[in-house]
Subunit: 301 residues, 2 copies
């Protein structure tokens, strides 16, 4: 037995791990694991992680896995709080990042799906109000056009919208709301236009009663997402656009705990007062790119 | 609202995350999270992780957390299989890595605690046999001396030993073995010497029925650890030495799935045949360093 292949220093372990993984038949898995492992070892060497810190990290990973269930996904939340979910969303949905002038004609920015999408929101007529029952709040009219990559309007595309109530709760978090409240799917008309009525959503905190809440508190970070509407826009032959449109002027726009706000995702909300009553309008267009129409797995039933 | 603080490119997200974490009062937590987050973003950018791959990674993390319980710790196993546990062990227990000549006088190498240590193995008289009941196997005599950092023998130090049976099972994995079989604590004599009798252990596979087993199979890696004895050597005023001594000549010595074998941990096993019967001897000394005597948490009750 030669000592050559046995490690004696911290730095000599990584090459052995990479060698052990080098026979992985799936080239992509091999690439991913080699890079991940290299960065993990570099992190540990760089910061000289102690045995106690390693024990705490293991405990955190066990805790977020075990806290994940039907109502909450602490693993995704942890990825959100490190900016990882947003990074993956932006990376895989390239808009024309570097040319602000061309932005209008470029693909729309994507954003996190989030944990509250439901796959089967009801189809509604154009102009219908998705604030069902007696949902109170400032009326909001939302309209816009769905375009293809050449700037041509897309008729019969599906605009799936969902958002939190004016007190910051989704219908399935709030017994006071009707089933499917503030959710609906709309078809664009012959000119690619969609239109619906609702009420202005409020921002809300990410869940703070689990291990991720402990992390936020230890980092003195607030948990409040800026108010936003979720959209999922789809039509055959195009990549499904999953995005969010944020309320301009929200105090938390530049301190979103999950880093979901990119500049083009800030919506142009206008408020109008007539006869002592205020209502708001939002006009927001979407630009799809060609590709396969693949829907995500619903995070909740 | 200025666009300056909102990201528009994948690379522009990390600085925002680091800024959000920069107010963390605990300087060490701030350092660890900044480095970890930077490496995670670098990994994702380097390999261009897709949305589907991200979903799979999230599922793996949920699965290893939820598979962890009283009998198995898949999170620690995952860290083991990436060489992370060994890296932390070697990093925090520096021996005289770079000078082979001085090795004998340097601190002993540490190795993983592993999942099978129990805190309360029985204290035994010097020379006692820890192969209890009718455990079959090649007899093995183990002896050595425990030294302090100056090479002075340490009397009355505790040598806690535990190992798998000749068929590769720990007593608490195997109904056929007596409680505390192949476990015992010995006190060194006035000359720092310890001595016990047992049977030669066999190697064994890490658990392969969970998510980590799927990873090993996808990487075409075998799960078999080389045969070894676990030691925990302690005496007040010295850091607790947790280590393993491996069987020289084991086929898996250079392909340990958890990368626990460093060159100085390969033991000098000798086999002797007399009257048609073979027995083995192992002589192995331990060198402690000064420090606080802190014991780990037992991974199992």
């Amino acid at each position: 037995m030669s000592n050559v292949t046995l490690p004696t220093t911290p730095e000599s372990i990584l090459p052995l791990v990479l060698k052990a993984m080098s026979r992985t038949p799936d080239a992509r898995l091999r690439e991913l694991m080699a890079s991940l492992t290299s960065h993990l070892h570099a992190f540990i060497l760089e910061t000289k992680v102690t045995e106690e810190e390693f024990e705490r990290a293991v405990k955190f990973l066990i805790d977020i896995g075990q806290a994940t269930g039907e109502k909450t996904n602490e693993v995704i939340l942890a990825a959100d709080l490190l900016g990882v979910s947003s990074l993956v969303a932006v990376l895989n949905n390239p808009a024309n990042h570097n040319d602000a002038h061309a932005q209008a004609e470029a693909a729309s920015h994507a954003a996190l799906l989030g944990p509250f999408w439901r796959a089967n929101a009801p189809f509604c007529e154009a102009g219908a109000n998705i604030a069902r029952g007696n949902t109170q709040g400032m009326p909001l009219d939302v309209r816009g056009v769905v375009y293809d990559k050449h700037g041509k309007p897309l008729a019969n595309a599906t605009v799936d919208v969902w958002h939190a109530s004016p007190i910051g709760l989704y219908e399935n978090q709030d017994d006071a709301q009707e089933n499917m409240n503030l959710r609906g799917r709309f078809k664009t008309d012959a000119h690619g236009a969609y239109f619906f009525k609702t009420v202005r959503p409020a921002g809300y905190p990410v869940p703070t009663n689990g291990p991720c809440g402990d992390l936020l508190r230890a980092q003195l970070r607030h948990p409040n997402r800026p108010a936003h509407l979720h959209f999922m826009v789809s039509t055959p032959g195009h990549k499904v656009l999953i995005t969010q449109v944020f309320a301009d002027g929200d105090d938390n726009l530049t301190s979103d705990p999950v880093f979901g706000v990119t500049a083009p995702l800030v919506g142009d909300f206008q408020e109008h007062t007539a006869n002592g009553k205020t209502h708001a309008t939002l006009t927001h267009d979407f630009h799809l790119t060609e590709g396969e129409m693949t829907f995500p797995h619903p995070p909740i039933p």
